[in-house]
């Protein structure tokens, strides 16, 4: 019987798990549940898993609402990779848009949010719950967010 990853042993990387989700709000929950299942098997704490669910939710929702906006039959591609104690989740959409790189570093300005401004809440939340995050984009191909959380 094939053993799943154990946090107590160093093993080769598992084969990535890939999801191709319809670009429709609500499907982010499929990604959240899948990542949470893998994270639980890796031995992540419940609070880390809850944070990871939020990060994945924001990344997939961002891909649906912004990256794939206006594209018919678009998909969101999610790749989950386990390597050692690291869980990596990549979320890719199909349309390149330049990100506002200033977003997500500082705590959202609630006073501005109270005035109805977009303050980059989603990107900031992602940063709070993962060890590494990187946004990249290739013109003509799409945007990708790569998130890494390590099991301590």
């Amino acid at each position: 019987m094939r053993r799943f990853w154990s946090p107590k042993r160093t093993q080769p990387a598992e084969q990535p798990i890939e999801l191709r989700l319809p670009s429709t709000l609500g499907y982010e929950k499929v990604a959240m549940d899948t990542v949470a299942t893998v994270a639980a098997r890796m031995g992540f704490r419940p609070d880390q898993i809850a944070g990871l669910r939020t990060a994945v939710s924001e990344a997939v929702t961002n891909a649906i609402e912004h990256g794939n906006s206006g594209i018919r039959n678009a998909e969101v591609h999610v790749v989950i990779t386990v390597a050692g104690n690291a869980l990596t989740v990549r979320v890719r959409d199909q349309h390149y848009r330049r990100f506002n790189r200033g977003y997500g570093y500082d705590r959202p300005d609630l006073e501005r949010a109270l005035q109805g401004e977009d303050v980059g809440m989603g990107m900031w939340l992602i940063r709070q719950f993962v060890d590494e995050v990187e946004w990249t984009g290739v013109p003509g191909q799409g945007n990708e967010v790569r998130m890494v959380l390590r099991c301590q």
């Binding site: 609500g26 929950k29 809850a50 924001e58 929702t61 609630l110 109270l114 809440m121 709070q128």
Partner: protein, 119 residues
């Protein structure tokens, strides 16, 4: 609407002078109309103390937080007191991180929130 969207139920009830708005389901962009309608109805009925009760809600995203920010803003503008209850530890943490707790007190239970607003 995708089949994965949970049915969201938003209902209101009175605890003395406190209006409790129960939110059952996902607090995402789809929750906007129902939560806003419940708040507007309560306000038009003269509510001055409100509790948003999330006891049956396990998923709140940034779009949902934006809805709550608008409710907080409206409460401030209308001179209403607002409290929140029933949030699990993760969302209590997020609300504190974001700063929402500066504008609305957060309580573990509905009873605690109602008691605080009634005092």
């Amino acid at each position: 609407m995708a089949f994965l969207d949970d049915t969201l139920e938003v209902t209101s009830r009175q605890h003395g002078k406190v209006t409790v708005i129960d939110i059952k389901g996902d607090v995402t962009t789809f929750a906007d109309a129902k939560i806003s309608e419940a708040y507007t109805t309560a306000t038009e009925a003269g509510a001055q103390q409100l509790v948003l009760n999330f006891h049956h809600s396990n998923y709140i995203n940034s779009a949902g937080i934006a809805i709550l920010i608008r409710i907080v803003t409206s409460c401030g503008r209308n001179g209403q007191k607002l409290a929140m209850s029933g949030l699990n530890e993760h969302f209590q943490k997020i609300f504190r991180m974001v700063g929402l707790s500066q504008y609305a007190d957060i309580y573990e239970t509905e009873e605690q929130a109602v008691a605080a607003l009634s005092s």
